[in-house]
Amino acid sequence: MTRQHPVLRLLLLSLFLALAFAPFLFPGTKSVATASRICIFIVLAASYDIMLGYTGIVSFAHTMFFAFGAYGVAIPLSRGWIGWDAILVGTIVGAALAALVSAAIALLSLRVQKIFFSMITLAVASLAQILATQLRDITGGEDGLTFSLPAELQPSFRFLADPIFGVRADGRLIGYYLTALIALALFLLMQRLVASPFGTVLQAIRENEFRAEALGYRTIVYRTIASAISAAIAAVAGGLMALLLRYVGPSATLSFDVMTDILLMVVIGGMGSLTGPALGAALVVLAHYYLQPFMQMGFDSLADVRILPALIHPDRWLLWVGTLFVLIVHFFPAGIVGAFRKH
């Protein structure tokens, strides 16, 4: 569509370079884990943007599809089938299931009205949450599942005896680049998709569904395919998350906190651009990692002042996030990307 603003391009390039060289630029277990998380959430937020930003449908079940992939990987691994084949099979099964369920929801409800779709996704997502905590034998209930990874992904694994630029050539490094490359591939795939004839029809549906139908597009088919693709990609992101955490549980994958984060990423970054949600993902993940502890510090140092500490107590995190959300929606309805849009 329109060409990107230089500032925006600079931001995106910096994000790309930072992620490409994260283990070398920001060595340390915690920062590499943060970079992994950013990669994963870029995929998750961008896949959500295909629904929200491109097709104009609001789904609350995106974390459920994320969880499908995460549990898909966790279930075989936690039962002792530890291998790359288990990871591959788990991801594929999770993604296929996500695509199927998502398509089914879309077919059943999108025919009626978009708001109906949103409500059904909410109901199904709540059901999934209950199931994940109740089906203890399969999902590990509230506690979730912990598991070990194949040898090549373990910190003790060395693929080179000597460090590369001072960074240990270990399984963690392999894990990071595996995540980053898959994330990049999926992101490019999504960019392809939204620029394709199919993607243009999705935008047409968002803009004016009535007219899209009058041109002969069966919009229900397009929306169903879009939901299925979006869900499958979210599931792959879930699989990567499982590998990163070596743990899968309801709160890490299924909770509405994750859903709020995704929404926040997409809205802060700017809907309907993919690059917007990518920037949003980076911002929100960084804020989680560095702002919350920062608030804790502020809280501790202001412990004897009166109201202030209560406001910056780490538990007030959501309050601030909510405030930020409202401000952004009000002042930058098109997010970061929209603020830099050339007309």
Binding site: L193, P197, V201, A214, G216, Y217
Partner: protein, 253 residues
């Protein structure tokens, strides 16, 4: 010869009001029919019933002899029913070229391409450009619709129907709201379609000079009912049209 398009006892009620009242009409290939009538007569509603945006309370629609009353809008469009809307009805945040290309792409059945960039289908883009130049919109190709003047939006509305290359063209007051110097171009485009022997044109139009120039048949709707049907000269002169328009709109022309 079976008519291209036919309605039988087509009726729709909104609450107690009968907006289209048992209208039976047949339209043959190569003909241009003007649909006239005062505001609220049911003209747009009649087209909505044909193109599928509304389902009739009673009666049927036939396309080439096939009953399509229950068929969904997209399927009707793919069978060759083209529609340009009275109230401009576009994809506002997309560019002019993208709007038309969506129509070209629909016509080519190419919407389910997933892995190539839409603008690499140069054949589709070129066709879209052709329609833009036909409607003198080429200079605006890369503007968003929201940046267009009202007149240009009306032209785009027409361009998108042309790009669909339908068999039946339904124009709903195509020149309403256009500036005077843009009108002749649009009328020429419609005249060119009307002149072809295999296309069928339905034209809702208030201006009687336009009706006389383009149409070879005029039907009059009044309170949803068909009240006159015939040659333009005789229908326009008839008492019922004079009455229907008198006091509501001056019979300009």
């Amino acid at each position: 010869m079976t008519p291209v398009l036919e309605t039988r006892y087509l009726t729709i009620r909104f609450g107690g009001q009968v907006a289209v009242d048992s209208v039976s009409l047949a339209f043959h290939a190569g003909t241009t029919t003007a649909i006239v009538g005062p505001n609220g007569a049911g003209k747009t509603t009649f087209l909505n019933l044909i193109s599928g945006q509304l389902r009739p309370s009673a009666g049927d629609v036939f396309l080439r002899g096939k009953r399509i009353t229950a068929m969904a809008t997209p399927a009707r469009a793919r069978l060759g029913l083209g529609r340009a809307f009275q109230l401009t009805n576009l994809f506002p945040d997309l560019t002019v070229l993208e709007n038309v290309r969506l129509a070209v792409q629909a016509r080519a059945g190419a919407g389910l391409g997933f892995f190539h960039a839409a603008d690499t289908r140069t054949d589709l883009t070129e066709r879209a450009q052709t329609w833009l130049s036909e409607t003198r919109l080429s200079a605006r190709a890369h503007n968003r619709v929201t940046a267009l003047s009202h007149g240009d939006q009306r032209k785009l509305e027409v361009a998108m129907m042309l790009a669909l290359e339908p068999e039946v063209f339904m124009f709903d007051e195509p020149t309403a709201g256009m500036s005077v110097d843009e009108v002749p171009m649009v009328l020429d485009l419609i005249a060119a379609i009307a002149a072809s022997r295999d296309k069928t044109v339905l034209l809702i139009e208030h201006k009687m000079d336009v009706v006389r120039r383009l149409a070879d048949r005029v039907v009059v709707l009044h309170q949803g009912a068909l009240v006159a049907d015939g040659e333009p000269a005789e229908v326009v002169a008839s008492a019922i049209v004079q009455e229907a328009y008198l006091g509501i709109r001056p019979a300009n022309g």
